[in-house]
């Protein structure tokens, strides 16, 4: 089944669809009808798509790029390879298929599309081979795109590691969606995200992590620094399958509200079909620590500068636990300017 047919089946996103609970769905133009705000490129028909079956895909954002004839870029990283790469899509709609071989070490930075239209949607299908170590990250400069979707489908084989880290500073409406399947024993997935939003920006993250094998680990940390009337949401679901013993999963969302009109929504969902698992989730919302502010200011540092120091510290802490790799370097560098 192709993507257009599937969108017709599931319909446009609605608030009562559990995948879209917090998203301002009214802002999404009807991509199936007239051209409207949403450009339909005269891109050549995508051959790769013919072979793909989307009949089980439920997330509109995962279907959109393909429904819009995104060109598919296929990249295979051979077994044992050591690769640093940058991915960039040159169109409003993009589709990247990455096949990462066994034991490969990959550092992958995703750059923004150059085009500026009303809506941009990208999809990434990433399959990670046994024992591979992969980091995927993006920390692009703030974009003013009105609407941006980025969808990831990651499948991990045994003993593979994926670290997925991002900094989100866009001024429009954005959504990161992720379906991660930990299919092999010993696989681990680490998600870290920092949203620094101001004005009317709204950023939404929706993750589904499926622990389909024993001894799998997933961690999620999302931090939000919200000013103006910014709005962030985090919808994280962890599913632990029936025979999956010794699973460890943690989810933590920390938000600092810097203004009265900023807000955050968090929805953690755990579906566990086994006893022998350890799953935690936490959610904190607060302001900058008053005692820390006092300490800095009482040493002569002006209030605004002290605020910035505390915000920067809150932001940087998101990525401190990462190993010393290009991702960590780049993410922290972005935060120190």
């Amino acid at each position: 089944m192709d993507a257009v047919t599937r969108i017709q089946q599931i319909g446009m996103p609605r608030r009562n669809n559990e995948l879209w609970t917090f998203f301002p769905v009214a802002k999404i133009p009807n991509v199936l009808s007239a051209d409207g705000d949403c450009r339909v490129a005269n891109a050549p028909r995508n051959d790769k798509q013919e072979s793909l079956d989307f009949s089980k895909e439920n997330d509109f954002a995962a279907l959109l790029p393909l429904a819009k004839n995104a060109r598919t870029m296929v990249k295979a990283i051979p077994e044992g390879a050591n690769e640093m790469a940058m991915l960039k899509c040159n169109d409003d709609f993009g589709h990247t298929v990455l096949d990462i071989g066994k034991g490969a070490h990959v550092s992958l930075e995703i750059l923004d599309n150059k085009v500026q239209h009303e809506i941009v949607a990208e999809r990434f299908d990433i399959s990670v081979g046994e024992g591979a170590d992969v980091e995927i990250f993006f920390a692009n400069p703030a974009s003013a795109l009105p609407l941006r979707f980025r969808h990831f489908r990651i499948t991990q084989a045994a003993n593979s590691t994926v670290r997925f880290s991002n900094i989100l500073t866009d001024s429009g409406i954005g959504r990161i969606s992720m379906d991660c399947d930990l299919n092999g024993e010993g696989a681990s997935f680490d998600y870290r995200s920092l949203s620094i939003l101001d004005n009317t920006a709204s950023m939404h993250q929706r993750l589904t992590i499926r622990h389909n094998a024993p001894n799998t680990v997933s961690t999620q940390l999302a931090r939000n620094l919200l000013s103006g009337s910014a709005y962030a949401s985090y919808d994280g679901m962890v599913i632990v399958g029936e025979k999956c013993t010794k699973v460890n999963s943690g989810q933590l969302v920390n938000t600092i509200l810097l203004s009265e009109n900023a807000s955050v929504s968090v929805k953690p969902v755990l579906k566990i079909y086994h006893d022998d698992v350890e799953c935690t989730h936490g959610n904190t919302v607060g302001e900058l620590d008053a005692e820390q502010m006092f300490y800095l200011v009482s040493r002569g540092i002006p209030k605004e500068a002290a605020k910035k120091m505390l915000m920067a510290s809150f932001a940087k802490e998101t990525f401190y636990p990462l190993p010393e790799t290009p991702a960590k370097k780049r993410l922290l560098q972005t935060l120190s300017v």
């Binding site: 800095l296 040493r299 540092i301 120091m309 510290s313």
Partner: protein
Amino acid sequence: MLSIKDLKASIEDGTQILKGINLEVKPGEVHAIMGPNGSGKSTLSKVIAGHPAYKVDGGSVELDGKNLLEMEINERANSGLFISTQYPTEIPGVNNVEFLKMALNSKRAYLGLPEIGDEEFKKFCEEKMQLLEMDERYRERGVNDGMSGGEKKRNEILQMAILDPKVSFLDETDSGLDIDALRIVANGINHIMSPEKAVILVTHYQRLLDYIKPTYVHVLRHGKIILSGGPELALKLEEQGYDWIEE
């Protein structure tokens, strides 16, 4: 140089903690403030610093003729006031050295001086760290992050050494220090001290005053200074406690 007159202050629920404090501190003097727990010693330091948890009900605090109570918190510091609180706050994500540099440059900016460069600051900071026998680890850590009580106190004196304040108010800086650390910290304070500066020490112990000889010793109780004397008063307090003093 520091003149506190009839200072009254209360906490949020309206309870008055400071009930009319008077204290005149002149250049070159060391004042020790003693008194039972809960008397208001820490409150006094925080009210002078401008901590938002306290409301000033009356009185004045002047530093070289300028009313501190009307200044922003950072201006007080930049005018030459240094307050070391009893329990220094931990700020894990802010690097200690960057913090020190930021604080020094804030003061310099306030005084119309140019920023101190990285190299120059590094040398300057190194000198002060040697004075306080602090090892390199203090550089990499976050402000007071995971430090023991004693390490925090030493870090406070490092800040004092770098900011070179006119008046320092050190709240129980000697608590939690072992004998070696006490000697180092006291030497540090003596080193920073000069005839143009003044220090107020809150302490429960004579042992600090063996190193730093006070000009005056005051007893603060129930929000008031109820007795003042010379260094001999501290010795008497250590022997006899506070109960013999009539309020």
